[in-house]
């Protein structure tokens, strides 16, 4: 398959992820969407890595995976903590930073 096919799939997945982040109000779904975006990027890394016949892209994939795991840990912890205090995790109610 040509490289473009991988990239198109990757772009579609990324767009789905972006749309999910923008329109969903449940932080868990938003997290999943972010994961989608990250994995779309991973997909293109792997594809380009094989296309260029270089291992660099695959190394980046591991870094992304690690960071994503760390991010999920922190994010979930925050969500749990917010849920404990507010009994609700609708992101639209969390606007303490409003100017």
């Amino acid at each position: 398959m040509p490289l473009s096919a991988y990239l198109i799939v990757s772009a579609i997945i990324f767009t789905i992820g972006v749309t999910g982040v923008l329109i969903r109000r449940n932080p868990l779904i938003i997290f999943m969407s972010i994961e989608l975006m990250l994995n779309a990027v991973n997909l293109s890394f792997v594809a380009i890595s094989s296309y260029l016949d270089s291992a660099d892209g695959q190394m980046f994939v591991f870094i992304v995976l690690t960071v994503a795991a760390a991010e999920v840990v922190v994010g979930l912890a925050i969500i749990v903590s917010i849920f404990r205090t507010r009994r609700d995790i609708d992101v639209d109610d969390m606007n303490l930073l409003r100017g």
Binding site: V18, V21, L22, I30, V91, M94, N95, L96, R98, G99
Partner: protein, 663 residues
Amino acid sequence: MTNLMLLVLLLPLLGFAILGVAGSTFSNRAVLTIAWGACGLAFLFATISFFSMLGTPVAARTSDQVLYTWVASGDFQLSFGLLLDPLSATMLMIVTGVGLLIHIYAAGYMQDDPGFWRFFSYMNFFIFAMVLLVSADNFLFLLIGWGLVGLASFLLIGFWYRRPKAVAAAKKALVINVIGDFGLMIAIFLIFKEYGVLNYNNNTGGNGVFSALNPTSSGTLLQTVIALCLFVACAAKSAQLPLYMWLPDAMEGPTPVSALIHAATMVTAGVYLVARAHPLFELAPTALTIIALIGGLTALFAASIAIFQLDIKRVLAYSTISQLGYMFMAEGVHNYSAGIFHLTTHAYFKALLFLAAGAVIHALDGEQDMRQMGGLRHKLKITFWTFLLAALAISGIPPFSGFWSKDEILSSLLAQATIHNQPLSYVLWGTGILTAGLTAFYMFRLFYGIFMGDYRGSGHSSHAQDDDDEEASHHTAGRLRIHEAPPVMTVPLVILAALSCIGGLVGSFELIGLARWEPFTKFLAPVFADVHTMVTASLGVQWTSTALSVGVGLLGILAAWRLYGRGFQYKENHNPLYQLVLHKYYIDEMLDAAIVQPILWFGRTASRLLEGDLLDAGGRAVAGGLRGTSAALRRLQTGYVRNYALAILIGVVLIILYYAVRG
């Protein structure tokens, strides 16, 4: 001899320090021991210095003892020394001698005042400052002494510090004197800029101002400006036009203060300064003419005010201003030693007049209004006689002291007029003669008002009580028992009366053919040896001037006798001219309206408009603008995560588009 000078300077300072620190715990007797001791020893040492100077040859009579270096900054090096020459010795004798007499007198006058120790510590401080002024060997320490006597004067005018009038007078005296200090500072700057030194003569090697003078610079603008700046200082200190206003108000201070500071010594500092800096004045003939003019104008002006005053101390204050005018007239025609001579005799008779007036005020329990006096000759015999002698002396009646000195000044003026044939000098001389008549008139008006006729007072203590009821006031209400002052007060009166009678005999006797008898002039001659411009009066001129001045003086006395000989009668008079003079030509009011109020108005307006509306409000307006901008911008921060994500997305898309379009 020079070590004695140091003692003369430091003993009064020591007295001040002791009394100032611990005086409140001392008994009156202990206070007097210290104050009299300090002043008396200073007088003793000054006398010893004076007589040992008389014993040395004329050429070796100047000594300058360097004490320390005040400051050294680049080419500005100033070492301070004590100068003893005939001029400063004369001044020292007057300051410590008259000072001692007044210290003694004040013990009686201030006896019941709760601020007794404070009074004497200030008096000692004044003696110190005045000694510093006259014995400094450079212009800077002259300025320091100049400022310190001003401080002493300020403290003593405001001695009764809860009386609003006294405080106002003290403030006025200080501020006007600072105008003089300003003039002196500018003069010093000019002198340093021009000559590079401030010492009168060299005391550590190198030049002094007077030896650096260049005779060819005579009459240049710079020399004139220097002389005039110096004279600004003299006018402020010696109450000459237009800076005289503080002196009459200064009478709010205790009477011994008026006698010592505001008649005999401090106010003559200006006369001293002109004499001391005469080499500078000699190079500025225009300035000297101006000085003579101002002196003449002041003499006449102040005498005219004195005629209608009702407060006896104010009459004497204006008389002092007028007499100081005489001294400046003498100096204006180069006759410095005549100026100093009149300074000396004036110190005797004016101090006496004030002290006698003080004895009257003391007897009448604080009454100063002539309308409430009269007929006191029976009850205050010593005061009466001494006052009469002093009045004769100031009126220029021979052979009392004032005659000799005033006569010398007037003949000098006439000689200047006849020899140089200047109309201006004739006018000055005429002014002097006229003032002599006025002086005799107002002085005998005062004399008759106080001592002759019948007693016009209510017999009750009318003096306003001190506003401070806690102060043990010696003004007991009720019937007044008019009594002669105690001996501690009358003895100084008698001594000063003796000096007023014979003090003039050191003057010139040329008039009666004794041309060689002029010890005072000869004594001062080394100081003024460089003055070649003074003209000597011929015998005819002297006789003319003397005859006229004595004649006019007698006329003044006669007029006073005709009007007031049977006692002073006060009549309301609404003649505008009379009112004008009575209110001192409204000059205080005019200055207040023309200078003081505008300055305060400016301050208040600037405070409100510039500080408040422009700077403060302007700063707040800038801050307000920033706050408004940020209020608009903060709406962008919605707090919704998705809005931020959308913003990021749009940003990313825009960046990609940018690169896509650019290719």
